[in-house]
């Protein structure tokens, strides 16, 4: 009698431990799941690339685009938008510049990550060329200007008059070295 209860308890406890482990796995699985959802629904903003501008320019409408630059905490270099605010017509191809100065005494490989506000604007903001497409390597003390060529598509909802595009630069030297 006594032992059979103990056995039953041990069996149940094992099942409960398995549930806990499965839920732990589920927690980790939320990461790829979340990325998939963001890709599938177009919420993910990191890689919206256009092959070419779509031609028509809507001269009647003007949209203000702001460019913001920030560094991740660990990165000791200066990163700034040279063209902070530009006025564009939807459909018009525009070039803006960013400048990076590597103030450190070491080689740094950086990756920039864009983010849009408002989010609804993201699908209509097409980049033809961007330093954020690739990792950028900077020699110690190097200063370099880099381009973003973009088009705001005419389909942009009418109530959006202002778009902010923010880039954050991140030091990926360690990871890039491992590859």
């Amino acid at each position: 009698m006594e032992t059979s209860i103990a056995q039953k308890n041990a069996v149940l406890a094992k099942k409960l431990v398995i549930i806990a482990l499965i839920m732990g796995g589920f927690g980790l699985a939320l990461v790829p799941f979340y990325r998939q959802i963001c890709e599938a629904t177009g919420i993910s903003q990191s890689r919206i690339v256009a092959q070419k501008a779509s031609g028509e320019v809507d001269m009647a409408r003007t949209v203000t685009v702001e460019f913001v630059a920030s560094n991740s905490n660990w990165l000791n270099w200066s990163f700034e938008a040279l063209d902070k605010i530009v006025q564009v017509h939807p459909g018009q191809q525009t070039v803006v510049n960013y400048r990076v100065v590597n103030n450190t005494g070491r080689k740094i490989i950086g990756q920039a990550v864009p983010s849009y506000a408002p989010t609804e604007a993201a699908p209509f903001f097409k980049k033809l060329q961007c330093f954020c497409f690739d990792q950028q390597t900077f020699a110690p003390g190097e200063s370099r200007d880099m381009q973003v060529i973009f088009v705001v598509e005419p389909g942009l909802p009418a109530d959006i008059q202002r778009i902010s595009l923010s880039y954050t630069f991140f030091d990926v030297t360690a990871e890039a070295g491992n590859k």
Partner: protein, 525 residues
């Protein structure tokens, strides 16, 4: 058979005394008492931090603590109260009451029970001790959102470790509770005849087993982001801080129900006892509790209406959240129906229970207001949210804990507590609680943000009312401590059935409950 039984009993009889006894004890009553004392100590520690916060907020401007320390205080206050005070208190009740209520001699895994408890003090030391390390404690808020939690110093690591340890303790405790409930009930006690407190803990334990590992995963990812170069949540490295919020609240919302379901259980014992009527709608109580638990997994998005989810997502979370009000309403209805035409008396436990029903409901209503997406977009991160969760957690969870303590103190100590002082404690607590937290609704509606040490001068009056209430509330709790100590020391001898209307197996054993009870399963009718 007879002989072996006696022998076993003798063995147990020679238990060590003093500190050694408590360090090695596997007795559910000892462990229950330790959890309850631990909880009470943490309640005072967390309460002290709250009073520093309220002192700083007595006037606009910075007077007592600098903004960094202020953030650390709000962060650690919340973590201490959630993981140190509320959850261990309910585990303490579970340890004491579940074996007594289901007629088991002890918890299923007595040794593991001891480990579950002894994991808690080191975790608490890590949390509270993190104030002493360079840079001070974690200041990211109890939700540990990146990027702050990635940028913070070593104290964030201590906090994460503490969360891991307390999570492990909770999971072990839950396995114990589920096993005890499912396998060790007295013959004849079918699931649908279990006391409500046992039901609510069964469901809570499943919730804990389901979401604690998810929290562990989330904070582990924080840790690897901090030290091992991963970028789960680091926007700059291609990660996404919003993802942390999703994972955290997938844990976080069930967690708030973990802190209220056992409270529902306690209240479902106190009200029938003092209304001298059986609980109205027992079966609907069970189903309501289960559906609250299930729904709690699909509403986490109501904590993040402002992060820019698609409108469809916001709408889904809004409606799902409102749906929870239905089973919650069923419970409130049943409690009121239990009181209806009962021959009620208002001893201290009943006072706390009635206050619970009315004040928790106010918290539920403010929750419904916050569930409306467009409203929440303006109220999010204001004092309105602070008011909401203190109504559900203080006048909800904590009131049930205090009511439950008064209710079962006679069974635990063998003495009746001082009824007069208990009532004084109740009235001071209930009144000062409302003085403290009701004005915070207005502050929030007027736009005062939470977690900020300074505020615009037009908020001064309500903040001063709130701070005065808070000090009264804090001081009133010293009466609670005094009543408990006095009750342990002596008082009117409690009968086995300490309350006229009390039902259940725990009232069939003498008061105080002997060290060993139900060594042979009782008959349950």
């Amino acid at each position: 058979m007879e002989a072996t039984h006696d022998h076993a009993h003798d063995d147990h009889g020679h238990h060590p005394t003093g500190l050694v006894r408590y360090f090695f004890t596997t007795n559910h009553k000892d462990i229950g008492s330790m959890y309850l004392w631990f909880s009470l100590i943490m309640f005072f520690v967390g309460g002290f931090m709250a009073l520093v916060i309220r002192a700083e907020l007595f006037q606009p401007g910075i007077q007592i603590v600098n903004p960094d320390v202020f953030n650390q205080l709000t962060t650690i206050h919340a973590l201490v109260m959630i993981f140190g005070a509320v959850m261990p208190a309910f585990v303490g009740f579970a340890n004491w009451q579940i074996p007594l209520m289901v007629g088991a001699s002890d918890m299923a895994f007595a040794r593991m029970n001891n480990w579950s408890f002894w994991l808690m003090p080191p975790a608490a030391l890590l949390l509270v001790g993190s104030f002493l390390v360079p840079g001070g404690a974690a200041g990211s808020g109890w939700t540990l959102y990146p990027p702050l939690s990635i940028q913070g110093g070593i104290s964030v690591d201590m906090t994460i470790l503490a969360v891991h340890i307390m999570g492990a303790s909770s999971i072990m405790g839950s396995i114990n509770i589920v096993t005890t409930i499912l396998n060790m009930r007295a013959p004849g006690m079918t699931l649908m005849r279990m006391p409500m407190f046992v039901w609510t803990w069964l469901i809570t334990a499943y919730l804990l087993i389901a979401v604690m590992p998810v929290l562990a995963g989330a904070v582990t990812m924080l840790l690897t982001d901090r030290h091992f170069g991963t970028h789960f949540f680091n926007a700059a490295g291609g990660g996404d801080p919003t993802m942390f919020m999703h994972i955290f609240w997938f844990f976080g919302h069930p967690e708030v129900y973990i802190m209220i379901l056992p409270a529902f259980g306690i209240i479902s014992h106190i009200i029938p006892t003092f209304a001298r009527k059986p609980l109205f709608g027992y079966a609907s109580m069970v189903y309501a509790t289960s559906s609250i638990a299930l729904l709690s997994f699909i509403v986490w998005g109501h904590h993040m209406f402002t992060v820019g989810m698609p409108a469809a997502g916001n709408l889904f979370f809004m409606y799902a959240t409102m749906l929870i009000a239905v089973p919650t309403g069923v419970k409130v209805f049943n409690w009121i129906a239990t009181m209806w035409k009962g021959s009620m008396t208002f001893e201290t436990p009943m006072l706390f229970a009635v206050a619970f029903v009315s004040l928790f409901t106010i918290g539920g209503f403010s929750g419904l207001v916050l569930a409306i997406t467009p409203v929440d977009i303006t109220l999010h991160n204001t004092y309105y949210v602070v008011a909401h969760f203190h109504y559900v957690l203080f006048s909800g969870a904590i009131f049930s804990i205090m009511g439950g303590a008064y209710y079962w103190l006679p069974k635990w100590t063998g003495h009746m507590y001082d009824e007069k002082l208990g009532k004084v404690h109740f009235w001071l607590t209930a009144i000062s609680f409302n003085i403290t937290f009701f004005p915070q609704h207005f502050l929030g509606l007027a736009g005062m943000p939470r977690r900020i040490p300074d505020y615009a001068p037009q908020f001064t009056e309500f903040n001063q009312i709130s701070s005065v209430g808070a000090f009264l509330l804090g001081l009133s709790q010293l009466i609670f401590l005094y009543v408990i100590i006095k009750c342990i020391r002596g008082g009117v001898k409690a009968e086995a059935k300490s309350w006229e209307g009390a039902e259940g197996l725990e009232w069939t054993v003498p008061s105080p409950a002997p060290y060993h009870t139900f060594e042979t399963p009782p008959a349950f009718h």
